[in-house]
């Protein structure tokens, strides 16, 4: 039949796991998986779920029995109830019972029988026992064992009558090594040098290349990726609004720690508890970002405590998965069904993490759709040049109130003159004069019209954010202040003045700028002394001129009413004929919090009458004799506060605050421990509203005891995790690295070392590596070096029919693995071969090209995708902004996760969407253009195909390959030479930022097509 023809000779189970004929079944390998899968659900560690008082997960339980006959009589299968039950035909008798929908195969039944016959030996689960260094085995092909890794692998292969494949060539080895260690391909020059060195001595050449790559700063960038998957590192909160938040300093910490080869024990301690170390450094606190990367729900209906508990649950589960390789989360709601973890174990571990503050608080207004995010941040240190500047600013800012007070306490003369002028001006009643609108533009795509009163009414599309630019003229001879009015109108939802919400008609004026256009010249006018009829709490009108786009003026609660704000010019201006006053209103809050009807006016009023508070104007209007003592004081007080000296100080203060805002340090999320620990209680069914008995912080009973010398906090827990007798931490880590290099772990279930795990294919090798790792001082590079200098690593990856038949999953490694690289390396590789790759490290996340419109508005402070047109667009994938609701789409197509939860291993799929991405994504087409240009510039016409293959695949083409690409190139060259318009169409793409150097457009277009082919080859995206 067709299926069989296509998949010849597939054995029923991974055959490496089958006992050899005549051998007694091995409990851990053969029996525990059957019992665990089929029996422990009702007869296992979970006391509440246990039926018939029978447990089969221990020798005592199985041989004593429960309510019925003795299930297991060692050596006597025919007297064992278990055997009778599993072989029974009676639906009331048979185990597992039909309603469980589980059933045993004939082979499984026989194994259980044989095991009882051989004495029913129960062995402790291997992973709970500490690893011991096993002896390195003797092998027949001793010459092939470059190091102990080879010896362990060869022994297993030799048992099957197999051996390693032939060695791969040096170019393949270097390409493999480069992709594995630094995530980038070798350059043709590096390949050449390596091939030369290889000829003089393979081991030395390899060792030198390994050291070169391990020392490269690219190493940390490549190995940060799998760690950040575990750490579920992202740049946004997740959930409803999915706002961005700063955590990138933690990402940089990981890169730097890997580049510094920080020992894994320290790496662990600093991430879990860096803040609790004595005299913790800034870097150690940044490291605790590991557990602040957890998602946070700011949706308004969420109860802050519920959000906090969910976050702690995630921290417990992630810690257990990352370091212990166990699935503690099962024990959140009930005792673990398979592994001996109780609910008490779970909440004891929970207690270590239960002492951080709430991260969201109830919103100020009951109508608000989001909570406020209040989780702790830490300021990152400023660069040294800014530190000095900042200190100076702060000193001066601190001095201003004192100077101001001095002036107020000693009013200088001038009062009388002011009062005279004010009274005169008041008599002449300086009036606010309308600024006539000659042009109104907005980036929000709204409609607008000017009403009879000179105001502008916005309608149509309600943009999230908008920048209004209003060009005006005036008849005034001098202008000393500007007034902005936000008015109501029946056409605005809820009357306005804001447009976004008919119930809450707020607007937020983030920043206002005024520029005088005179001839061709632009004169920015400095504003200070902002006043308004009303400002919402924390949204004072002064925010509109503080230079900080995140703050602004708002009118919350005073909805449905007109409002005004005035801004005084630092120096009055005298407009001339033809001058224009251009007022820019930035409203970048989001969700349509923009002004619906706007009117601008100006005043000529050097004494500041027009901006006088109403009460002061009233007093000035009274004849002097009628003013009370209180009136007089009020006048003096007002004069002093508005006197030239004070004015200068206020102006300076506004200016300095602006400067300071620009210097604000970057922030990052860190763990902070509460002074008083929270009590922790077991939560019934995992529900935080059902607390039960209190538990103390402790580690699971099954694992080595928590040393009494350790503090019972996160720091103690971290030290316990990396103690020498912890059986899991080292095994779990080396197994992940093994899988990263060989594609599959020695334990295939990287995330689970419990009794449900797949048994290790090479238990001795796993233990040897784990011990070697710990004894090297938890040196990750030592482990990687050991693996990649093995002969196993150097084998050819060719898949022969014989190998496919013998070991389809390549579990025994009789050949090197061959698989597609992950999303980040795939993109980095294409950037590198095209010559575009920027090696700039660290800093804020970058935004390269992505199709427009993917970050649709999701809530307040909507983050926007602002495509970067500089070198940032060509930086490594590790630096691309990670937004959980919408991660970088071309990487998602290559199995990048959304990082909402800890990801231990990514799937590796092969889909048409991947083909579409590499063929059509303008980002990849731009890379093809750069690659085309590079080939044309760097090589003579006759050498171009060869150069192209060397760049992209680290090898020359075969004759057939050269001919095939040649045919395509010849055809396209003729076509584009014949049709220059077609070349233009292809090359003049607004999505491209790259400017090619080569001038022959037809050649460039033809090579773009050929480069597109090369970047799509299976070999290009595959570790060879």
């Amino acid at each position: 039949m067709r299926l069989l023809k296509f998949l010849p000779c597939l054995p029923a189970i991974p055959w490496v796991l089958v006992p050899a004929a005549g051998e007694a079944p091995d409990f851990n390998r053969d029996i525990r998986p059957i019992l665990s899968e089929n029996c422990f659900h009702c007869h296992g560690p979970d006391e509440d779920a246990r039926k018939a008082e029978l447990r089969l997960d221990s020798f005592e339980g199985a041989t004593e029995g429960g309510e019925f006959e003795i299930p297991v009589v060692p050596g006597k299968p025919d007297e064992s109830e278990l055997v009778a039950r599993i072989f029974s035909d009676d639906p009331d008798e048979i185990m597992p019972p039909p309603e469980s929908k589980r059933s045993l195969t004939g082979r499984q039944k026989k194994l259980l029988r044989d095991w009882i016959a051989s004495g029913a030996q129960y062995d402790a689960h291997w992973a709970w026992l500490p690893p011991r260094r096993p002896a390195v085995p003797e092998v027949k092909q001793a010459a092939l064992a470059a190091n102990p890794v080879d010896a362990f692998l060869l022994r297993r292969l030799e048992q099957e009558g197999m051996g390693f494949s032939e060695p791969a060539g040096p170019a393949t080895v270097l390409r493999r090594l480069s992709l594995d260690l630094v995530g980038l391909p070798p350059t043709p020059r590096e390949v050449e040098d390596f091939e030369a060195a290889w000829r003089t001595g393979q081991d030395a050449a390899l060792a030198a290349a390994v050291e070169r790559l391990l020392a490269s700063p690219r190493f940390g960038e490549r190995w940060a990726r799998p760690w950040l998957d575990l750490a579920r590192y992202a740049d946004s909160n997740g959930f409803q609004a999915d706002q961005l938040r700063p955590s990138w300093a933690y990402r940089d910490w990981v890169i730097d720690a890997l580049n510094a080869n920080m020992p894994y024990d320290r790496f662990t301690i600093e991430q879990l508890a860096g803040d609790l170390l004595p005299e913790a450094t800034v870097a150690q606190k940044v490291a605790t970002g590991f557990h602040r990367t957890v998602t946070c729900n700011v949706e308004a209906g969420v109860h802050p405590e519920e959000n906090r508990v969910n976050q702690v649950v995630d921290r417990v589960n992630t810690t257990a998965t990352v370091w212990l390789g166990v699935t503690m989360e099962c024990a959140q709601c009930h005792d673990h069904k398979y592994d001996p973890f109780s609910m008490e174990d779970y909440y004891s571990l929970f207690a270590f993490f239960n002492n951080t503050p709430l991260e969201v608080s109830l919103p100020k207004s009951v109508n608000d759709v989001s909570h406020d995010f209040v989780g702790p941040y830490m300021d990152l240190p400023l660069p040294p040049e800014d530190t000095g500047k900042l200190a100076k600013l702060d000193r001066r800012l601190a001095a201003i109130p004192r100077l101001r007070k001095k002036l107020i306490d000693n009013p200088k003369s001038g009062y009388d003159a002011w009062e005279d002028e004010a009274a005169k001006s008041l008599a002449n009643a300086p009036q606010w004069e309308l600024l006539e609108v000659v042009a109104f533009t907005s980036n929000g795509g709204e409609d607008h019209r000017t009403l009879d009163d000179g105001s502008v009414l916005l309608s149509g599309n309600v943009p999230g954010t908008a920048r209004y630019v209003v060009e005006t003229t005036t008849e005034l001879e001098a202008i000393s202040a500007i007034k902005v009015e936000a008015l109501t109108h029946p056409d605005i939802p809820g009357k306005g003045p804001g447009r976004g919400d008919s119930q809450r008609t707020n607007f937020i004026l983030s920043e206002i700028d005024v520029v005088l256009h005179r001839g061709g010249k632009l004169v920015p006018l400095e504003l200070f002394d902002a006043k308004a009829d009303y400002s919402q709490k924390n949204w004072e009108v002064a925010n509109a001129i503080d230079g900080d786009p995140k703050t602004g003026w708002a009118i919350g609660q005073e909805f449905g009413k007109p409002h005004w704000a005035t801004f005084t010019l630092a120096e009055a201006v005298q407009p001339r004929k033809g001058d224009k006053l251009v007022v820019t209103l930035e409203q970048n809050f989001g969700r349509g919090r923009v002004i619906g009807r706007l009117r601008l006016s100006a005043i000529s009023d050097p004494a500041g009458i027009g901006t006088l508070p109403e009460d002061i104007a009233k007093i000035l209007g009274k004849p002097e004799g009628k003013r009370s003592r209180k009136d007089k004081n009020a006048l003096t007080d007002h004069f002093v506060k508005n006197s030239p000296g004070i004015r200068e100080l206020d102006l300076e203060q506004t200016r300095l605050r602006k400067e300071r805002a620009a210097l604000a340090p970057d922030k990052t999320l860190v763990m902070v421990e509460l002074d008083t620990p929270r009590p922790t209680r077991v939560m019934a069914r995992g529900n935080y509203l059902e607390p039960r008995e209190e538990v103390a912080a402790d580690t699971p009973a099954l694992l080595p005891a928590f040393d009494s010398s350790l503090p019972r906090n996160r720091l103690g827990l971290a030290r316990w995790l990396v103690s020498r007798d912890n059986p899991l931490t080292a095994r779990v880590a080396v197994n992940r690295w093994w899988a990263e290099i060989f594609g599959t772990g020695i334990v295939a279930t990287l995330e689970d070392f419990g009794t449900q795990a797949e048994p290790p294919t090479h238990p001795d090798l796993l233990d040897w590596l784990a011990v070697e790792f710990m004894e090297s001082g938890w040196d990750m590079r030592h482990v990687l070096r050991t693996i990649v200098t093995s002969n196993a690593y150097r084998q050819s990856s060719k898949v022969t029919p014989r190998l496919r038949e013998a070991d389809p999953r390549n579990l025994l490694l009789a050949r090197a693995p061959r698989f597609r690289v992950d999303a980040e390396r795939l993109r980095d590789n294409a950037l590198a071969v095209s010559g575009l790759l920027s090696t700039k490290m660290h800093g804020k996340p970058v935004m390269p090209y992505q199709p427009p419109g993917l970050w649709r508005q999701t809530g307040r402070n909507e983050p926007k995708w602002v495509e970067q047109k500089d070198e940032n667009r060509w930086r490594r994938g590790i630096y691309i902004v990670y937004r959980r609701a919408a991660p970088y789409p071309s990487m998602v197509n290559f199995d990048a996760p959304d990082r909402a939860a800890c990801t231990v291993h990514r799937p590796r799929t092969n889909t048409p969407l991947q083909a579409l991405t590499l063929l059509n994504d303008p980002a990849y087409v731009e890379m093809a253009l750069a690659l085309a240009d590079r080939i044309l510039v760097e090589a003579e016409p006759a050498d171009r195909i060869e150069h192209a293959f060397r760049l992209v695949l680290s090898r020359p083409p075969t004759g057939a390959e050269k001919r095939r690409l040649g045919v395509l190139l010849a055809d396209r060259l003729a076509h584009f030479a014949d049709d220059p318009q077609a070349a233009r169409e292809l090359l003049d793409n607004p999505a491209f930022v790259y400017k090619p150097k080569h001038k022959d457009r037809a050649a460039l277009a033809a090579w773009l097509i050929a480069s597109n082919v090369l970047l799509n080859l299976d070999e290009t995206m595959t570790k060879p």
Binding site: K101, R804, F819, A886
Partner: protein, 502 residues
């Protein structure tokens, strides 16, 4: 060297991990073969050509007679159009009429509705809020079944006899994002596969040129984000693919600027020939898969635009749905959903945003119902006329319902808003049509004030179990092994609601 015949022949089944266990009845050669395959297709090997996004299902390939009868039993529904009203519509004003609530509207709600309850926004003991008494909001007994539907949905009233209502659905979550995750993935936090992914995993696709699970969205993205159609720990080929109404319907579908169709063919041919040379040399079956995926990508570049081009539909159809080619609308998505199921897309999920009415519910609800009433009724009628309703399951669902109590009068001064309804998890109404559901039927009853359940409660896990059942899937046996245990959509819960089966 592996032998690859026609690219279509190597597509067997969408299952690839060695640690997946879909038990099949033992005995037949085909079931053994499939089991062998399941156990051996290596994790991470990309399934050696066997697991394309566009897997034909085994039934279509004729390889497995069991699959023809459904994964576990004979299916009533072969495909699903699942409409999720994001934000949660006010079911009390659409489907679950409560005269008593209307009568007592304005009175303080009973203590037990408020004391000790978790409500998202209401903080003070609220008043009851009845449906307005005017004709616009009145309910009518419709069709032969006499089912009550609000006048806000006049067209849907016309197809009432095709609908099967559940009035007692209840959920565990009362905030949008967790509740959406709970409804769609069976778990209130991130990381689990969505129902469409489970179905794709269980049944594969019927079309080689289109994904098995397609998502169409109107309005903003929902709180749960892409996770609402994500594949969780299932292989990513099972995640929903969003088809967009603006720009490329599938990201990166169209050729780069300046690349013509024939030129694209040349590129794909060159890639194929060079990959074939590599395959000859290296022998890795993954390369064969890659070759066939490029062919499928090429075919998708034709089949997807053809699918999305609703302009080719006759005038009568446009009038029926209220569709306008080129626009982004819920109506267009309904018509697209019909075109997709016609072409064998297994699971089409429509999300429509804008139903979260904490204030002014009686102003805003008619606007939204005006957008969805005609197209949904048209979809049901159209499917029926084409004979597709019989084995296509249409679902109307939301993450929860809305309270019989009023919210929104808590502002101050002029900011005082008109009444709305808060999130409600205790009971809400959903309906299904076609696909083996009992037509013209109402299941379950809420209490007189529409707060709790009077009889026949249906938990979301029960609802999901029932949907899978209709598709021929036993929800307890559609499992995936991850982190050492078998996961399923319904966790360890779920009872099939027999009362809604035809």
């Amino acid at each position: 060297m592996p032998h690859i015949e026609d690219p279509s022949s190597n597509i067997l089944f969408p299952m690839r991990s060695p640690r997946k266990h879909i038990p099949v009845p033992p005995g037949s050669i085909s079931s053994q073969t499939r089991r062998l395959f399941l156990q051996n297709a290596g994790f991470g090997l990309g399934g050696a050509a066997l697991a394309a996004l566009m897997n034909q299902d085994a039934a279509a390939a004729g390889a497995d007679p069991l699959a023809r009868r459904g994964l576990h039993h004979a299916p009533k529904a072969k495909r699903v159009i699942y409409i999720h009203l994001v934000g949660a519509p006010s079911h009390l004003d659409l489907f679950d009429f409560k005269p008593e609530l209307q009568k007592r509207s304005g009175q303080l709600c009973p203590d037990e509705f408020f004391q000790g309850k978790q409500l998202a926004f209401i903080r003070e003991q609220p008043n009851l809020l009845g449906t307005p008494k005017d004709e616009k909001f009145a309910f009518r007994n419709c069709g032969k079944s006499g089912i009550e539907i609000s006048n806000l949905l006049p067209k849907l009233q016309g197809v009432a006899d095709d609908l099967c209502f559940i009035k007692t659905l209840h959920t565990d979550q009362f905030n949008h994002a967790p509740a959406q995750l709970f409804a769609l993935t069976g778990f209130s936090r991130f990381g689990r596969p969505s129902i469409g992914s489970w179905v794709s995993y269980g049944l594969g696709s019927e079309n080689r040129n289109l994904p098995g699970f397609v998502v169409l969205v109107t309005g903003q993205v929902l709180g749960a984000g892409n996770s609402a159609w994500g594949s969780g720990f299932l292989p990513t080929i099972h995640q929903g693919i969003e088809f967009r109404s603006q720009g490329d319907p599938v990201l990166y579908l169209s050729n780069p600027k300046g690349v013509s169709g024939p030129e694209r063919r040349m590129v794909v041919d060159a890639v194929k020939d060079l990959n074939q040379l590599a395959l000859d040399d290296v022998g890795d079956p993954e390369i064969a898969t890659r070759i066939s995926q490029y062919e499928m990508a090429f075919r998708m570049q034709t089949s997807v635009p053809e699918l999305m081009d609703i302009a080719s539909e006759p005038k009568r159809i446009h009038e029926m749905y209220g569709t306008q080619p080129g626009k982004t609308s819920f109506a267009n998505n309904c018509l697209l959903a019909r075109r997709m199921v016609e072409r064998g897309v297994r699971f089409v999920q429509l999300f429509d945003q804008g139903w979260d009415m904490h204030g002014s519910v009686f102003d805003r609800l008619p606007q939204k119902t005006g957008q969805v009433d005609q197209p949904i009724a048209a979809l049901i009628t159209d499917l029926k006329e084409r004979g597709l309703l019989e084995d296509t399951l249409v679902v109307w669902n939301a993450e929860f319902g809305r309270t019989p109590m009023a919210q929104g009068t808590s502002g101050n001064g002029e900011g005082r808003t008109k009444a709305g309804r808060d999130h409600h998890k205790e009971a809400y109404t959903v309906w299904m049509a076609g696909g083996g559901t009992r037509p013209g039927h109402v299941y379950g009853q809420t209490d007189d004030l529409g707060y709790g359940i009077a009889r026949d409660p249906v938990h979301l896990h029960d609802f999901n179990a029932t949907l899978l059942h209709l598709l021929g899937i036993d929800h307890e046996r559609l499992t995936f092994r991850y982190q050492g245990r078998q996961f399923r959509l319904t966790d360890v819960h779920g009872e099939i609601v027999n009362g809604v089966l035809a």
